[in-house]
Symmetry: D2
C-alpha cells in the first residue's frame, strides 16, 4: 500500500504544504497557530466537521487579521491533493479512512488521535471499545516520541503522535528504565491535567461553574492512556511493565504535570540517576532537567514545546520521585506533531517551535 | 502543672466562652466564622500580633455588620481570664508560653499549630529545626483527630489539632491499616492543596500572578507533615510505617485532595476494603464514603467539615487507590478544632458545623 | 382568581412547608441549601425537568449525607398539595401554568424567573419575545425588592423575585433618586457578573476553557434586565428614566458588581449623598454601606445575602460613582427569594440568611 | 543636551543592540521575551535592582535553556556603553538619571515608566506626588502611541511609552474625537485589568487568596492614568476634556478591557461612527475593529500586541459604547515599547510582534 515518494528536491528548499483535518478543535487550532508561524510551512487548507464554509477566523476570532481561510469539509479532496502532509486532529476512531486516502495519494500523515498508538489490535479494542485499524496500515504507523525514537520517525509515512499523559510519563521514566536503575514493579504515575485536554465538546464536567475552583481524580484505574504508557516503557525497559496511572483535573486551562514514584534498584545511587537524565537529555532541544531541589511549574512551559523534569530521591521511603511538566496542547499534542513533521521532512527539529512561555 | 477544673455546671447549660489568639490569620478568621455561628459559644476576645487596637471587621470586611470586636494583643491577660477555652492559631513555634499561661489559669487550649503534634521531641526538632516543647507539657497534649481517637479527646486540656495533609492521609488510610488489609511498605501519598494553606504572610510564591494558572510540587521529600502522618498511622497499624509524601499547590484558594496508593495484602479482596470503610465511618458525621466508581470533588466539601473518601481497586497494578478530600481551612484546621472543642465540652460533635458547601 | 387563605395559626408556630420547582438548576439548588438550613422551613418536595426519579444528592453530591429526597416531576401534584409556598426556579417563560395551579390551590408562589417582573405586557413581549402572562395574573404579581417595597410584599400571594443585575442597580440608585439628588439623564450602569448567572445549561461560552482566563462584555445594548431596571427606578424617581446598561462576564463563578455613574443635580453636595444612603439603609439587615474611600469586594458577600455599597464623588468629572456588589445566586436570586418568603410569612426578615462569607 | 547621532549605516543592516533596566519586573521580563525573539535585535545586557549577579534564567526559570545572561546592576555603565537603545522598566520616579546618562552617551531611550508621560510639570507633581523631570529633558520626550502620532516617534530620542489604561482609552476614543462625532462632556471610562498590572512587588492585595475569586474597583476617582488620558484625548479633540475613569481588578493575570460611554453629537449617525473607525484603523497592523455585534474577549489578544475594538450604539440611552481590549503587558507596555523602537529605528513596525494568542 505504501507508495510515498520522497520529493526530488530535499525539503527545506521549498515550503511544506500542509492541511489540518479537525482544525476547529483545540488541538487543531493550536496546530494552526504553530504551523502558521512555521517558516518552512504553508497551510493549504483546513478541514472541519462542524464549521464547513465558515471563516476560520470567525470560529476563532484570535486569528482575525492573521489567517483568512474558509474551512472545508474533512472529506474535501482538496485537502489531500494539495498537501504534502495531512495532520489529523479528529476524535478517536475516525482516522482510518483519512489515513488510507492520504497514503494512497502519496502523502504523509501525522495523526494526533489515538487510533494508531497501540500496536496490538486486541489491546486497542479492549481499552477503546472500537474496532482496531487494519493490521497492514497499523504496521506502518510509527509512534513518534522524538526523544525516544527519532531515528525511525525520519522515514515515517504514517506518524502516530503520542498522547499527552504518556508523553510526561515516558519522558519522565525513560532514563531510569533505559539504564536499569529501578525496580519495574510498583510504578505509580499520578498525573494532573488542565481542562483543555477534554477538548471543545460540550459537557457538564467541562463547564466553568463545575470545573472551576475544583480538583478531582477521574477515569481511573482504567484510563486509556495506561496501555500506551505500558507499551512504550516496556519497550524501553525490555520487559513487560504494568503501572498504576491516575489522572486528575486541574482548575486551569493548559498545563500537565505528572508525579512519578518508583523504587530504585539495589545498588542505585542518586548520582546514577542524575547521570542518566543528564546523558539522555543534555542535547535535547525540548527537555529541560531542573537543577536538584527545583521542580517544574506548569506555567514555565505554557505555550511551549518544552518538557521540564525535576528529580528527587526520598531515601526514607526508598523512592525516586520524578516530576515532569508539559503544555498538554503543545508537547502533549500539536507541538510534538510539528516536531515530528520537522524530522519527517529533514528540517532542524526545533524549527517553528522556539516559543517562550508567556509569563506570568 | 495540670490544674484544670471541670466547671460545676455541665457544659451545655451555659455558653462556652472562647478567645482566639492569631485571629487575623486565615485559620484564625475561619475560626471566628465558625465560632460566631456556633449556638453554644460566646467569643470573648480576639488576639493578634499585627492588628492590635483595630476593629476585626476592618481587617476582614466580610465581617462588617456581623462582628464588632476590637483586636487585642495576643499577650493581653483578658484573653486568658475571660475564656473557658483558648484557641491558638499562631505561627509554628510560638505556642508554648500561651499554653502554659492558659493551663495555669485553669483553661483549656486548642492549638492549631504544629508545636504539640509530634510526641517525640527529637523528631520534632529534626523536622522543625526548633526547640521542642518541654516534656511535661508535651505529655499532656492530645492529638485530636476525632474519628480516630475521640475517646481520649473527651478529657483533653491541651488539644493539639492535626495538620491538614495528615487529616486526609490518616482518615484515608485508617480502615485499611486498622484491619490489616494492606502491605505497609510502599505507601505513596500524593497530595494537592489550595493556596490558602500557605497563610496570609506575603511571599512571592503566594502572589496571584505566580500561583495563578500554575501547578507544581513543592517541599518534598522532607515536608514537615511526613512525621506527623507516620506517627499516627504507625499507631493505628501497630508497627512503624514510613511513607512517601509529596505535596503540590493547586491554582485555587481552598480545597485539599490526597491520592493514596497502597498494595493490598495477600488475601485481601475489594469487598474487605469496602467493608472496612463502611464499618469505620458509617456513623461518622463528617466522613462520607463515596459509592464505588465515584470520587471526591474538592468543591463538594468547600466551607464544610466533611472529609469525602473515594475508593478504587487497580487489580492490574495490584494497588488500592484512596482519594480523600477536605477543605484545608475547615476539616484541615478550624472546623476540626471546633469539632474537638465540642467533644471536650460534652456537646454533640457536629454542633455549629452543619454547613453545606456553597455550590457551584 | 385569588383565593389564598391565611392559615388560622400565625406562621412561626408551625414550619412553613415549601416545594421547589426547578431544584436542579443553580438557583434551585441554592434555594435548597438556604431552605434546608432555615429553622422555620420544611422542604416537602423538589421538582425537576431532567432528573425525575433521581436522588437530589446524586445530582448534587455536596448534599450527600444531608438531604435524602428523590426528585419529582415539576408537574407532580404533590408539590402543590403539600406545600404552603411553591418556589419556581424555572427557565424564563414557563411559570404561568405553575402559578395558576398554585394559586388555585390556595398556595403562595415565589417566582425566581422573569415572567412576572415587567408590569407592562408589551414591554415584556418586546424584550423577551414571548407571550406575556395574562393580565389578571400579572396584576397580582408583587415585585419583591424588600429594601424598596417591603410593605406590599407582606400580603403578596404571587411574588416576583428581582433579577440579579436589577438588584444591584436599584439598591445602588434608590437613595439618590428617592431624594432627587441627581440628574436622571445619562445614567450609566456598567455591570460585571460571575458565570454561574448563565445557569447550568451547556453552552460553549460557559465552558471552562472559553470563559476561564477571559473577560468580555455581552448582550448589550439590549439586555433584558434593562426594562426591569428602568421600571423600578422610574417608580422610585417618579418620572420615566432610561439607562445605559452593559453587562460583562467575569472569570469567576459567583459574584456580581455594578459600577454606576450619575451626574449630581445642581446644589447637591457629597454630604447629601452620604446622608441619603445612611438614612435609607442604616436599619437594613442586608445592605452595608462602606465607609468613604472603601469599595466592595465581591468575595466579601460570597454565599451571603448582603449587598455592599461604596460611594465616590468625582468632582472633576461631576459624577457620583456608586459601586454595589452581591452574590448573584443569593441576594441576586435565591437569598432574596427566602427574604421575601420571610416577609410573606411574618417571620423576622433575616431568618435563615445570617451566613458569613467563606473567606478567603 | 541632545546629542544623539544617527548611525552612519541605516538600521536594518545591523542588529540593534539593546539593554533593559528593570528586567526582573513583569514588564521587564516581557520585554526580554519580545526582544529575544526579535530578528533585528541583540540583547547586550539586563539591569536589575534586586537580583544583581544572578542568572536571569534563575529569576525566571521559563527562560532556562533559552537565555543565559547574568543580571547587572541598573547602574552598570556597560548597559549604556554597549547598547543602541536603553529600555527603562523601572518603578515610577526613578528614570531621570538613567535618561540623562543614556542621552549623554548618545543612546536612545524607551521609558516604560510614567515619569515623562505628562507634559505639564505641575500636573505631574499633583498626581504623582513626586518632583517632575527637568523641563529641558521633559521637552525632549515623545509620547509614543504609534496609531496616533507615529510621525513624530520616528525621530524620538527619548520615547515615553504610554500607560496601559490610557492605551485602551485613547485608541478607543480617537476616531470619535478626531472626527468630532461626539459630545466631549460626560465621557465615562470603566476599565478592568488583570492583576499583573500591579507588578511583582509583594502586597496583600496581589496575593492569590485575596485577589483570586474576587472583583473590585480601586484607586478612583483619582487614578494617575486620568491626566494622561485627558492630555492625549484633549490633543486629539483640540479642546480640553475631562473624563470619569474608574479602574477595576479582575481575577486573572493578564488582560485589560475598557468600556467607554459617550454621547453622540447631534447629527451623528451610527454609519459615521463605523466609517471613522474603519478609516482610522484599516491599515493599522495592531488594531482590529470587530464586526458590528461582536465584542472583544481579552483572551483573543493574550500575549499579543493587538488592541481589539468593538462598537455599539445604544439609541435608547443616546450613547455610543466602545469596548477596547489589550494585553496589559504587551500593547499596554512591552509590546508597544518594541513597536515604538521599531519606528525609531526605521524597521517595519510589526517586526518581532506577530504573535498569535495562545488559546484557549
Amino acid at each position: 500500500m505504501y507508495n510515498y515518494k520522497k520529493p526530488a528536491k530535499p525539503w527545506g528548499d521549498q515550503m511544506i504544504k500542509v492541511s489540518v483535518l479537525g482544525a476547529t478543535g483545540y488541538t487543531g487550532q493550536e496546530l494552526v497557530r504553530l504551523l502558521y508561524q512555521h517558516a518552512e510551512v504553508k497551510i493549504v487548507g483546513l478541514g472541519t466537521q462542524n464549521y464547513v464554509g465558515q471563516s476560520f477566523a470567525n470560529v476563532y476570532p484570535h486569528f482575525r487579521g492573521i489567517i483568512d481561510i474558509v474551512c472545508r469539509s474533512v472529506d474535501d479532496e482538496y485537502l489531500f491533493d494539495e498537501a504534502d502532509v495531512v495532520f489529523l486532529a479528529l476524535p478517536h476512531g475516525l482516522s482510518v479512512p483519512y489515513v488510507v486516502k492520504a497514503i494512497n495519494n502519496g502523502k504523509k500523515v501525522v495523526d494526533l488521535g489515538a487510533d494508531f498508538r497501540l500496536k496490538n489490535q486486541e489491546v486497542y479494542e479492549h481499552w477503546y471499545k472500537k474496532t482496531a485499524p487494519p493490521a497492514d496500515i497499523l504496521a506502518q504507523a510509527i509512534y513518534g516520541l522524538p526523544e525516544i525514537n527519532r531515528t525511525i520517525i525520519n522515514n515515517a509515512v504514517l506518524l502516530s503522535n503520542p498522547g499527552c499523559y504518556p508523553t510526561t510519563a515516558i519522558l519522565g521514566l525513560a532514563p531510569l528504565l533505559h539504564n536499569k536503575l529501578v525496580d519495574i514493579k510498583d510504578i505509580i504515575i499520578d498525573s494532573k491535567s488542565g481542562i483543555s485536554g477534554a477538548g471543545r465538546s460540550l459537557s457538564l464536567g467541562s463547564m466553568f461553574s463545575e470545573a472551576g475552583n475544583n480538583f478531582k481524580a477521574y477515569g481511573f484505574p482504567h484510563h486509556r492512556h495506561t496501555p500506551e504508557i505500558e507499551q512504550e516503557i516496556s519497550a524501553i525497559a525490555g520487559q513487560e511493565i504494568k503501572v498504576s496511572f491516575t489522572p486528575h483535573l486541574l482548575p486551569m486551562i493548559r498545563g500537565m504535570l505528572s508525579t512519578i514514584y518508583i523504587r530504585p534498584s539495589a545498588g542505585t545511587q542518586y548520582k546514577h540517576v542524575l547521570e542518566a537524565y543528564e546523558t539522555m537529555y543534555k542535547k535535547e532541544p525540548f527537555v529541560r532537567v531542573m537543577p536538584t531541589g527545583e521542580f517544574p511549574n506548569t506555567k514555565w512551559v505554557l505555550g511551549t514545546n518544552f518538557c521540564d523534569i525535576g528529580l528527587s530521591w526520598d531515601e526514607r521511603a526508598e523512592k525516586i520521585i520524578i516530576v515532569s511538566a508539559i503544555d498538554n496542547l503543545v508537547k502533549g499534542a500539536s507541538g510534538q506533531a510539528v516536531q515530528n513533521m520537522n524530522i519527517m521532512f529533514g528540517l532542524e527539529e526545533s524549527t517553528g517551535l522556539k516559543h517562550i512561555a508567556v509569563y506570568p
